[in-house]
């Protein structure tokens, strides 16, 4: 459908107002809102994924696309769903946060948006998060994944504590690390299962582990 392609392009190019207009027209034309998410937003993610190699990755393009996705979700999709958006997202649960000692959250914010668009249930703990809170939340929400971000190397000892606490409490969630500081390390250095080089690298890992497709 020509207009669906236009929606995908508008989202991928970060044209949030156009994306909302396109999504609204699609809904008026009878396209189900679930299709807007799955065939529109998720398809835009695929487009971005192909474009964003490590050398071409930049936060500006991602936050613009992220804003477009959020605007479509907030202004077009959510008002039309009889149940809460959470029930549409039946994918695995992810606990997400910036580790204790670090207050940077821009990259984490993008991860949140992308994972939500990809169908994951995201429990975002914010920034400067104690290791124990990651684990408690993972336990409470029966999360499959814990995603921890940091731009500061001094936070690495706290990152390592997550594994230790998971083992003590019998949590088997996969732990994924990301962010400029943590990306320099190997998974074994951080006591995590995977170190994501960027948001799509992390998404691929999650999809592979969860048996989901983008």
């Amino acid at each position: 459908m020509a207009k669906l392609d236009e929606l995908i392009t508008a989202v991928a190019e970060g044209k949030n107002k156009l994306a909302v207009t396109m999504a609204e027209e699609l809904v008026q034309a009878g396209v189900p809102v679930r299709a807007i998410i799955q065939d529109g937003l998720t398809a835009a993610l695929t487009l971005l994924d192909l474009k964003c190699t490590s050398a071409e990755f930049n936060l500006l393009e991602l936050i613009l696309a992220g804003r477009a996705m959020v605007d479509v979700m907030d202004k077009v999709v959510e008002p039309r769903l009889p149940e809460s958006i959470a029930s549409v997202l039946t994918g695995p649960a992810v606990v997400l946060g910036t580790i204790k000692g670090d207050i940077h959250d821009l990259g984490k914010h993008i991860v949140h948006i992308v994972l939500k668009a990809a169908g994951y249930r995201v429990f975002d703990l914010g920034k400067d998060v104690e290791p124990a809170l990651f684990v408690q939340t993972a336990r409470a929400e029966k999360a499959d994944f814990i995603l921890v971000s940091s731009l500061l190397t001094v936070s690495i000892p706290y990152v390592r504590q997550i594994r230790e606490l998971c083992q003590k409490t019998g949590i088997s969630a996969r732990i994924v690390a990301g962010g400029a500081a943590l990306q320099q390390a190997r998974a074994e250095d951080l006591a995590v299962d995977y170190v994501a080089m960027d948001v799509f690298d992390g998404l691929h890992y999650l999809n592979e582990e969860a048996g989901m497709e983008l």
Partner: protein, 345 residues
């Protein structure tokens, strides 16, 4: 040859007795001296003494004056939170939009706060070092400063939605960065490093650098040149491969290459600009000295064997973290001095 002459030789592609070693030791010097970062950035004498002691102990070729990326933002009126063991961060951006410039101090207030400490440290270190060891004053660049006072997310949206507003904000932060750099030079710094991590292609697309950022960084360096610093150093972290040739147009004598960019490829792209780099900062925390040695050996092979003439200064891609292993910095200095790559370690 003393350290300052060694650095100048490499910057001008002239022969040196060995490869200059400029590991970016900032807060690590405090840790080595048993001080906290909080103590380090609150007294000029403490900062100077820590820097001096670390340099004298390890024998590298530089002294750095740096108080975290928020020092200038504090002088412009931002309130900072000061954790005990790391650099301070901004509690909340002081601007709601790029048009709110009038909310900031009209001229930087550097009588108190971290920036006054940096000026003191420059003066003390210049007295100690004379013209033997270069004192490098680090100043936050205009893009990073704009991100500090507006919030980085809002800055990026401004760039996309109101590019004219972005440019006007950058014009203001450019004036501010220039003022701060001038203060450090007058306080005794030999060299100014313009450190602008938010200008990185990791945040802003490569294709926007030339039109939106380069003119501002260039104007700072051009103005500073009038004050006759020994060198001007530009540092932008991240995947800068595609903007290196444009970065060279700022007129910087020296540019840092971060670990993500192949150093030999960078040399081919900018053959006339001295390069500093490009060891991975986290390696100094998690790896052992053998890894550092091997990395430097590999870099030496690729950059050519002529110290100074290859226009290369061994450094890290960014700050060596305060929790690094000191023996790894020792390994860097040892390998910089090593004469024969084929000799056993």
């Amino acid at each position: 040859m003393n350290s300052l002459d060694r650095l100048l030789a490499a910057a001008s592609f002239s022969p040196a007795d060995r490869i200059p070693a400029a590991p970016q030791v900032y807060g690590l010097s405090a840790v080595m001296a048993g001080m906290t970062i909080y103590q380090y950035i609150h007294r000029g004498k403490v900062m100077a003494d820590c820097q001096w002691a670390a340099q004298q102990t390890l024998g590298y070729d530089v002294l750095f004056v740096y108080g975290g990326n928020a020092a200038e933002a504090e002088s412009l009126g931002c309130r900072l939170d000061y954790p005990p063991h790391y650099y301070p961060h901004i509690v909340k951006p002081v601007l709601e939009s790029w048009q709110d410039w009038t909310k900031l101090n009209p001229a930087p207030d550097c009588r108190d706060g971290i920036f006054s400490v940096l000026q003191q440290a420059c003066g003390i270190l210049r007295q100690k070092a004379g013209d033997h060891i270069p004192v490098i004053g680090i100043v936050t660049g205009p893009v990073t400063l704009a991100g500090q006072i507006l919030g980085i997310e809002k800055l990026l949206f401004t760039l996309a939605d109101e590019p004219e507003g972005f440019l006007r904000l950058l014009a203001r932060t450019t004036e501010a960065s220039l003022q701060f750099a001038t203060l450090l030079l007058r306080a005794g710094a030999h060299v100014i490093m313009l450190n602008d991590p938010s200008a990185s292609p990791n945040l802003i697309p490569n294709e926007l650098y030339a039109g939106m950022i380069l003119p501002f960084q260039r104007s700072i360096l051009q103005e500073l040149r009038e004050l006759k610093p020994l060198l001007l150093w530009l540092q932008i972290a991240g995947y800068t491969r595609r903007i290196l040739t444009d970065m060279a147009k700022t007129g910087a004598d020296l540019m840092t290459v971060d670990y993500q960019v192949d150093l030999a490829e960078a040399r081919a792209l900018v053959p006339a600009t001295a390069l500093a780099g490009n060891l991975k900062p986290l390696s100094f925390v998690i790896d052992d000295r053998e890894v550092i040695r091997q990395e430097i050996a590999s870099l030496r092979q690729r950059m050519g064997a002529a110290p100074g003439e290859n226009g290369w200064i061994i450094s890290s891609g960014c700050e060596i973290p305060p929790d690094s292993r000191v023996e790894n910095v020792e390994a860097l200095v040892e390998k910089a001095s090593w004469g024969d790559e084929n000799a056993p370690l």
